[in-house]
Amino acid sequence: MSSQISTKEKLLYIIDDMELISKEIIENAIAPKSSKLSGPEYAQLTDLLVAKDNELKDTLKLAAEQAQINKKLDVLKAEVERQDQDINHLQKQLKEAEQILSTAIYQANQKLQSIARANRRPVSSEELIKFAHRISASNAICAPLTWQQGDPRRPYPTDIEMRLGFLGRLSDPMNGHLLAQQNNMSDLHRPGHPGEIPASQQNQFAWHPSGEMHISVGQGTVPMDTRNHKQENDDVEAMSTDSSSSSSSDSQ
């Protein structure tokens, strides 16, 4: 197909040819008699000129037809252009949709993973609430709702509370030691109790079956003050600064 000559080139060639032939003829006409062409040759030239002229006419007709086809071509090109624009628009929309869907799927996957994680280690809500109570009992997370300026409660242990603790009661040996002795005797009479381990074989701190933490002092153990159980021996006023007793749910 590419070896075919275009109509434009054909027309131009014909015109060039006609120019040459006409030059020949005119030169022949003005040439002196000696170098004039013979009759038949002259006739040949003239015939050639006329043939070229007819060819030109036909090619011009062809050019007219091609102009018509060209118009159709233009209309089609405009249509194709419109389709191209539509396709581009649709492509953009599909791309957007794909993006939105992929985001949604990703987030859904993450949710499923967290659900699976949660199902693998279930935690009872009771326990969660219990721990939440214990954590917030010291008021370190948030002040009590009824707290005003001048309220003696603090998010850290105050000096009163510290004095009520073990270190604060070290200088009060009579009361504490007697209690420890009594506890020890009663415990020794219970053989093979699962929770009781000889104090010398363990470290200083030990959990006692009654739920209190004991520290060994000399030959006995002394109960430690942990906040989570009711303290019967303390003053009511002292206890009022410590809100844990009012909010603790149980002591084991």
């Binding site: 109509t7 434009k8 131009l12 120019e19 006409a29 002229d53 011009l60 086809i69 194709v80 389709q83």
Partner: protein
């Protein structure tokens, strides 16, 4: 020897492009005139001779001008950059392209991959 090329197109095109009917390709009459004036043998007086030769050269120039004008006008014609067969195949290709693009659009506009009934 009349060479008027007429075409049936009556529509208007842009200024840069000419229609075939605007061409002036009347070369043969000019050549005929030149030959005739060359072969006019005027031996009567020198004035006529010089006038005749002037006429001749003028006609030759006119022929040249006509040819050049024809060339430029041909350049400005629309739609003749390819041969007829090439043009027709181009047209077919464009039609196919249009059809394919329309089908593509049809397919993707009205496809519905997510069937809500299937749960």
């Amino acid at each position: 020897m009349d060479l008027n090329v007429t075409s049936s197109q009556m529509l208007d095109t842009s200024n840069k492009r000419l229609k075939v009917e605007d061409l002036e390709i009347e070369i043969l009459p000019l050549i005929y005139e030149i030959i005739r004036s060359v072969e006019k043998d005027n031996h009567h007086d020198n004035a006529t001779k010089t006038r005749d030769s002037q006429d001749c050269s003028q006609k030759v120039l006119e022929l040249q001008k006509r040819l050049d004008q024809a060339r430029t006008e041909i350049q400005m014609l629309a739609g003749i950059d390819y041969s007829k067969e090439q043009q027709l195949s181009h047209l077919e290709a464009l039609k196919t392209q249009l059809r394919l693009k329309q089908e593509l659009l049809q397919k993707y506009r009205y496809m519905y991959p997510f069937d809500i009934q299937k749960q």
